[in-house]
Symmetry: C2
């Protein structure tokens, strides 16, 4: 009913899904790519860089922050965001494990 029945899945499955959902929107992909590109951290430049309204960007940043993938530090009236390397690496390992399951070479289905 529009709500995922998380309780019938393993913690691992739910964790993979949670992380994957973070990348499930092009705006969040763009935000992360931009944070990677410029090694100094950015703030509201993301609003100019990506063509979405400021509240929308703020919402996406919040989602990424809640997952721990980015961190923000206040600098006067500005807020500086950057990748959180530790959590990014952890997430990367979890997703890579899932993606790298071996595809058995038999090409035929059934």
């Amino acid at each position: 009913m529009g709500i995922s029945k998380t309780e019938i899945f393993t913690d691992q499955q739910n964790e993979i899904a949670l992380f994957a959902k973070a990348f499930g929107h092009p705006a969040r992909v763009a935000i992360l790519q931009h944070l990677f590109k410029i090694d100094t951290c950015v703030c509201g430049d993301l609003v100019n860089e990506i063509g979405l309204a400021q509240p929308t960007i703020s919402q996406h940043l919040k989602a990424l922050k809640n997952l721990g993938l980015i961190q923000g530090s206040v600098e006067g009236t500005r807020v500086c965001y950057c990748i959180d390397p530790k959590h990014w690496t952890k997430m990367k390992q979890i997703l890579s494990n899932f993606l790298n399951q071996d595809v058995s070479i038999k090409s035929d289905c059934c």
Copy 2:
């Protein structure tokens, strides 16, 4: 407005988001893991394996199939699903490229 503004993002960003969305639900993660585990293909066993109703599983399978990640072949009254190795590999490369962006080692944000 509930609709992603895909037009303001690059094809690459939209593609990453589309694939990631496929893993953004634990049921689809579970389906894929099960298809990997048993190397012979499965059909409605997925309904028993995962605790969701048959139409729900069917819906998730359709989503995965539309992305090309799995393929299904009819066998009498049954339908046999399995990973599509070619598309899986392609998807894996696209997502890995994104995940493996270098985290610059400077730990401090701004």
